[in-house]
């Protein structure tokens, strides 16, 4: 599998990749992007199987990234990993076609719960 991880924090991209491994969902090719616009380009080039994206990012936010993908007819499974897990954002994410929202701080179990249906180890 190919997984795109989009987050403006290098630290958080590393933590996301490590948590995937801890959740038993590691061993996949991971492509990293610093914002939604970079991630959009990666998706076009590499056709990933899953996208994990922060919400608040410079250049293009996570929700803008998701809305742009879906407007193009791209249905790649998409999950937010964000420090803001309010009900309103979860509703907005679901309405835009996200698989779910994993709120920071998170655990390996949070990843398993949301992603095990789309990621195989």
């Amino acid at each position: 599998m190919k997984i795109v991880v989009a987050d403006d924090s290098r630290a958080m991209r590393m933590i996301v990749v490590r948590t995937l491994r801890q959740a038993g969902l590691g061993g996949h090719e991971v492509l990293e992007a610093e914002n939604g616009r970079e991630a959009l380009e990666l998706v076009g080039e590499h056709r990933p199987d899953l996208i994990l994206s922060d919400w608040n990012m410079p250049e293009m936010t996570g929700i803008q990234f998701l809305q742009t993908l879906r407007a193009r007819g791209d249905a790649t499974p998409f999950c937010f990993v964000t420090s803001e897990g309010s009900e309103e954002m979860r509703e907005q994410a679901a309405a835009a076609g996200a698989l779910g929202v994993i709120a920071k701080p998170f655990t390996a179990d949070s990843f398993s719960d949301v992603l095990s249906s789309v990621v195989t180890s």
Binding site: T61, S83, E84, G85, S86, P105
Partner: protein, 184 residues
């Protein structure tokens, strides 16, 4: 423009929030430090690290600064664990402390502005060694709310700064949906 909380009512929530954030990024338990109690002193040559964000509610102009401050030693430990390296450099420290602030800021926003569809969170600005991060507060602003925790023998501090100036911080873009749909 209002302060979106009564500090006494949210103190416990803020202490829990700070403890949860520290536990998640360090994998260590954090003990709340009661108000007025001195925590363990930092080393004389310690260079603290600070991360600052702001939450702005466009509906009523409410501005709230969120500042996380840790000792230099704790910032070093944090970066070492986040990046799995024994010798994190300054960039690693800034990124690690910035992300610590980002997680705290997002959780503060969810706690205090959860029902607001108009509140926005800035990106974090981090600094090392006591350098000043944009955090100007007018004289007439309500007093800051401060909670502290001790983790690995060092103090971490979360401060809410009502009416903090937020123009110098970095903000995620606001783009109208119709613009997005027009993109190729």
């Amino acid at each position: 423009m209002t302060v979106p909380y009564e500090f006494d009512e949210v103190r416990e929530d803020l202490e829990k929030l700070l403890g949860d954030v520290l536990r998640s990024v360090l994998g260590e338990e954090a003990e709340p430090l009661p108000e007025g109690v001195d925590g363990p002193p930092a080393a004389d040559d310690d260079r603290p690290a600070v991360s600052v964000l702001a939450i702005v509610d466009d509906a009523d102009g409410t501005r709230l600064g969120v500042r996380v401050r840790v000792t230099g030693r704790l910032a070093h430990l944090l970066a070492a664990r986040m990046f799995a390296t024994e010798q994190p450099d300054s960039e690693d420290l800034l990124d690690a402390v910035g992300e610590l602030g980002n997680i705290a800021g997002g959780n503060v926003k969810a706690l205090l502005f959860g029902s607001s569809g108009t509140a926005r969170l800035s990106l974090p600005s981090a600094a090392l060694g006591g350098a000043i991060v944009a955090a100007a507060v007018p004289d007439e602003a309500p007093a800051p709310a401060v909670v502290r925790a001790v983790v690995l023998g060092d103090v971490a501090e979360l401060t809410l700064l009502p009416q903090m100036a937020a123009d110098d911080l970095v903000w995620p873009p606001v783009v109208r949906p119709e613009v997005l749909e027009a993109q190729p």
